[in-house]
Symmetry: C2
Subunit: 287 residues, 2 copies
């Protein structure tokens, strides 16, 4: 019952950091496009002309942006909602992504040892993710099974981009908010150099604080620019390391859905060029 | 691309609380069997004699225990690890469960509004869960889309059963640990009477404290007895409400894998009878 995709050697087995460095240099980009494919938002003509309009949309977006990005992030909820057909769509989309580009499966999985090991197997071995997102609420028991995959990076939620992020993440304990405790634990858990941090662009001060805590080596996955309102300049200033690197800036809706006519892929490319170049402009100020 | 199962009217649309009351009375049981199906642990002869040994195992366990339980909990990691075939197994297992019995999909999903709504759709509309588990780290934004399904219960992680549960859940803020803040928020979020709480049986004092905070109306989902070491008497004393009810006691490995011979289903039944009756003995002391 093991599912097979066409993503095999050599790139799918490459260490995350080598792959990230290689593709971010080749494409001169820290931009990640979030493939949050939505049947209510893709151009209407695709629905009429294709058996698999969502796959057609993803393929055309990938073709239009693959020389502009360091990675694609697939939010698993957007695929799971369609049941078996959605999982097939996820597999087919992953298979279409060039092997040199990072694949981040955004599932925010969390469970304890025995069960977390199954999720890790599913995400890394079966679906061939280079990196994933996980939730830290269960402590190290829920994180270690993912970190045991030492060539892959696990991005751990620290300070999220949403309005109610502070409900628990900002509770103060011993003069530090919970999210700073999480950041300190991430440093402690990073023995194999394969922890990452998820921090929302919508909270630049928290972004700055977390980068100070974790130092220059840990990569950040940063959602929240564009439609969610995060400031790009502050995101780059505070989120990248001292070299203007080690941050992956995700945009989903702002790239995918600005045009619902037949020129949608061209428009997505224009948005991606613009965002990549804006990010690079601010990186230059830092490096 | 919508996936179809045979779970339709009338029970799959019944309000969770009505269904819970009805089945727990009929089977005189607060026991939930966790269908953590594992190809390395099921009897070897099933692997040789069946095209779908995992489904065969699940069906026989369900047939052997369906008059002894109030629900079945399916831990999604154990299914996702097999890719598409695993999702088919999940769907086929759900379809085989009698419609009067609760189905709890234990996925611990978490994400913000837009995305959480997709997970909710997947779990409730596509997979026909009566109840689910979710992680509270993102605050109300990550919980509300699930609570919008008012006939379903969302069990929110509060104090988990694992060793490192305290890494963040026990951080003290304003004289209360984080998990108590979560419990207070759950009371606040319970406007539609459809919040539940996940608390591990391995921490009886925390179980007691959380029941004190949330009162008698909110159901508990309690893993951690059996192999994980939770004490049954304390679990019932502290975890049920003042009527000795409103708690769902889950056991997975302790029911499923005590016998790997051809009598495995009969043995699973014996374990389930024993555990149900032990639970009921302690319930009588309370009610």
């Amino acid at each position: 019952m093991i599912l097979i995709t066409s993503r095999h050697l050599p790139f799918s087995c490459m260490n995350f950091h080598k792959k990230f460095l290689s593709i971010s240099e080749k494409n001169n980009s820290l931009l990640c496009v979030g493939l949050d494919v939505d049947s209510e938002k893709i151009p209407g003509f695709l629905q009429k002309n294709h058996d698999s309009p969502l796959l057609e949309f993803n393929k055309n977006i990938i073709d239009a942006t693959k020389d502009l990005v360091c990675g694609y992030k697939l939010n698993m909820a957007f695929y799971e909602q369609f049941g078996l057909g959605g999982i097939q769509l996820l597999v087919d989309t992953i298979a279409f992504i060039p092997k040199e580009i990072l694949i981040i499966l955004d599932g925010k999985r969390n469970d304890i040892g025995n069960t977390a090991a199954r999720y890790a197997k599913s995400l890394f071995d079966v679906l061939h993710a280079d990196a994933i997102t996980i939730n830290p609420y269960l402590g190290i028991d829920g994180v270690q099974p993912f970190l045991d995959y030492t060539d892959h990076v696990s991005f751990i939620l620290c300070r999220t981009s949403n309005k109610s992020a502070g409900d628990f993440q900002d509770l103060t304990s011993g003069n530090q908010p919970v999210f700073e405790h999480v950041a300190h634990k991430i440093v402690e858990w990073n023995a194999h150099d394969n922890c990452g941090v998820v921090v929302g662009a919508t909270y630049p001060e928290e972004l700055k604080k977390i980068r100070e805590i974790v130092g220059n080596k840990i990569p950040f996955l940063i959602p929240g620019i564009g439609k969610q309102g995060g400031d790009i300049q502050k995101t780059i200033e505070f989120g990248t390391n001292n070299q203007g690197h080690m941050a992956i800036i995700n945009s989903s809706r702002g790239i995918l859905y600005t045009d619902t006519s037949e020129t949608y892929a061209k428009s997505a490319r224009s948005e991606a060029v613009s965002l990549r170049d804006t990010i690079n402009k601010f990186r230059k100020l830092k490096s």
